[in-house]
């Protein structure tokens, strides 16, 4: 799922500086799961902003709190319509998708991002999140024993490993495993080392050109019949 990290309080304070009434908007799905923008974080941020205001003596913000189940669906955004009447800005703790969705719907209001949306990943254990997928659009996990070289190899190469691997770790970050060592070991386990002996030509970096769109519905004739 989408993993994000809340921006620093300093940065947030700078962003909201020009605005009086600010609605802190949380998201009840991904941002709750990764503990960056759920109801608890909304409440904590609200408290922090109030303390900051009280301690510094300046700043005349008032804050409102609300958390939507998701920010990236129009129907959920409907629920926001009544709450933004007297608001000067929305500080969204949703991921980048949510922030944009809110901004598009409430195009007369400044919408500020409260989190840095970082990657798609999964928890290793409570409080530790690892990136797992970069949405390359051309998944080849079947060839690499279920380990993504594009995400987990820092260089994203297809004919790995490079010479920088030491002790099974990556030259760029000694806490991270070398993906290609992992791939080798697992292919060996599956009896599929042939996969790694094969030559992989250069990647298609643009299977769907950016900004991407996927259409799952059928395009019908004017007459309403399928071709």
């Amino acid at each position: 799922m989408i993993v994000a990290e809340q921006k620093s309080l300093e940065e947030i304070r700078r962003m909201i500086d020009p605005y009086g009434r600010v609605l802190i908007l949380g998201c009840g799905t991904c941002m709750t799961v990764c503990d960056a923008g759920g109801e608890r974080e909304v409440s904590f941020l609200h408290n922090a902003l109030r303390v900051a205001q009280a301690r510094s003596g300046n700043g005349t913000h008032t804050f409102l709190e609300y958390t939507l189940k998701r920010q990236c669906d129009p129907e959920f955004l409907d629920m926001l319509t009544d709450r933004v009447e007297d608001v000067d800005a929305i500080l969204s703790l949703g991921c980048g998708i949510g922030v944009q969705a809110v901004a598009e719907r409430f195009s007369d209001l400044p919408v500020l991002p409260g989190v840095n949306t970082s990657f798609m990943g999964m928890p290793k254990e409570w409080g530790i999140w690892d990136e797992r997928c970069v949405a390359c659009g051309d998944c080849r996990l079947g060839e690499t024993a279920g380990i993504c070289p594009i995400t987990r190899c820092t260089k994203g190469i297809l004919n790995g490993p490079c010479a920088g691997t030491k002790n099974g770790k990556c030259e760029a970050n000694k806490d991270m495993d070398c993906a290609w060592v992992l791939i080798y070991k697992r292919l060996e386990r599956l009896g599929q080392l042939e996969n790694m002996r094969r030559y992989y030509p250069p990647r298609n970096f643009r299977p769907i050109p950016r900004p991407r769109r996927i259409v799952t519905r059928a395009t019908l004739d004017v007459g309403g019949e399928n071709e």
Binding site: G38, E39, S43, A48, V51, R55, K69, E85
Partner: protein, 707 residues
Amino acid sequence: MYSSVTDDTQNHRDRQAKKLSADRSLMPPCQAACPLYMDIREYVDLTAQGRIMEALQVIRNGNPFPSICAYVCTHPCEDACRRCQVDKPIAIRALKRFAVEFGGDRMVQCEAETTHGEKVAIVGSGPAGLACAYYLRKLGYPVTVFEAHSEVGGMLRVGIPQYRLPREVLDTEVQRLTQMGVEIRTNTRVVSLDLLFDMGYKAVFVTIGAHQGLRMGIEGEESPGVIDGATFLREVNLGLKPSLGRKVAVVGGGNVAVDAARTALRLGVPNVEILYRRSRAEMPASDVEVEQALEEGIDIRFLEAPTRIRRENGLLSVTCVRMELGEPDARGRRQPVPIKGSEFSKEFDTLIMAIGQAPQTPGGFGVRTGRGSTIQADPITLTTNRAGVFAGGDAVSGPATVVEALAAGGLAASRIDDYLQRRYPLADKEVKERLSGDLLPETIEMIRKTGRLELPTLSPEARTKDFKPVELGYSWEAAINEARRCLRCGMGAEILFQDKCATCLTCLRVCPYHVPHLDEGGTIQIPDDQCQACGVCVAACPAKAIVLRKPYDRRHITEELDHALKSAAQSNLKPFIIGFCCQYGLFGTGALAGLWRGAKASIWIVPVLCTAKVEADHMLRAFEMGAEGVFIAGCGEQCAREDTDFWVRQRVEKARKTLAQIGLEPERLQAFVSTTNGGDPAEELDRFAERMGNLYLASIIMQEVRS
């Protein structure tokens, strides 16, 4: 604070608020097992926090004579206590006794007004009768208790020896009744209920107990020197000192038999034995009594029974036969079968028969009796075949326990009230759902095991010299430590707001007891019978979907914090420090409990029930309202679980990170563990306070310089 809202939103908020104010706790097994449905969990928890007087209030709310139960209750609650599944049950009776003794004569409710005209007569002043009198009096009825003996209390007075229930304790309770305006007429044996109605009583509660000793029906049972057990105890309790000779045997295996044997010992009989026809496992007497009897040197002869008694040369020659256990009877107890040819003879000065008791109902009562001469009464309404006549206690059930009698007395009072006010006697509806289910091994593994602190007793030698109470009470420390062992069944966490739950699995991951799990449908469940109410998941849930079941727990920290902040503001002492201190530990009941009284000038304590519940939000709020420093102090090694400190530190770090960005130094927020590597917590606190003081001065100076 909020902008214009639609009705819909307000309704939603109202519904949420309603949900949040409801008591969703489940009835724990201890309470369900108690005939009085005492809120044991509550008073044990209050004791664990050192709030003994409040615990006593809870006890008194549920039990009219707590001091009696404190000494002699058979504690079905302890048998049902789920701590049995971990190590040993909580010593609930001992804790009750501690509370009662701690409270002494304070806070005793002795007032009652007469608001009704209908008089009620109670025949028998045993526990059922006294309880009924208490409640009827509280309801405003004029009550008269008729007692055949010279002393009040029924079996409490004449059956239970004084080394188990001291005279003074019973006297105090009886005195309260008279202070309330209950009329007690001793030495008055009631032989006809008609007479009572003629005297103007509108309802009668017959609770004459079961005092008539049963007979074995063997040859020689009428011989001089063969006495009835219950009678023997009564005589001793009424002050007589029957001479028993040097060698005494008691026949029987119940509490009366054991009491009789131990009483004989205390009267100076050097040789006392008990003859019981079954084995130890079948003995109905309570384990503790039997243990103590054995310690005192009483010889219990299992699988022996007398068959014939002859008086010879001033002694009783008793023919006994050995028994073996045969087939179980209708109730499942194995029947003793005499072994042919195993007869032998023993000699005693006195033989005390204590094989059972039955009520002696005068024919003049006109009530129908049934099996074992017990009075027949409806179990829900307690009515007999006579209008206006109610019955309860041992007279109806046969010999039973004190607490059951108290419950019967209480029920009788409300039924009599229904009757007199012409109300339909509805069976009491159970309001609360009961907790069921055993603790899983995974849960049990994570619970800190501590032995149960048994009540200290006098040494066996010291005991048998006189009738002083055998059990000594708990010390303060012992009581609190014992109370802390309670698992708080049924008041744990639940996902109250399912719509908010994102199934992020945080609760599953952080729970020290591995309680939350995914069900078949992939929904998170927090089984109420496993949850240990620690509060870790409540504070960690990113969606704020989890709350504790008791409204008090939900609000507790916020309310206490507000209270402390208000006090700090009013006192105007600067700088001030807020300390979140666990009530179960050092700051609650231990060495630093004095801080709670605001003794230290600038420190205001927020009592919390385990620091695992303190959230980063709470810490921020303290700073927002002007605290210069905040600390969190937990129980350290004494905590019921191992990782509380981990969570406290996680939240402290999170708060510190934010505070740093507000210009508040991280050192302003500290987590103290009460056993910090040998350091003296009081000293550490002093240093912390001093440092905060310096920071405060520094900030004042900075402000002056700037302006």
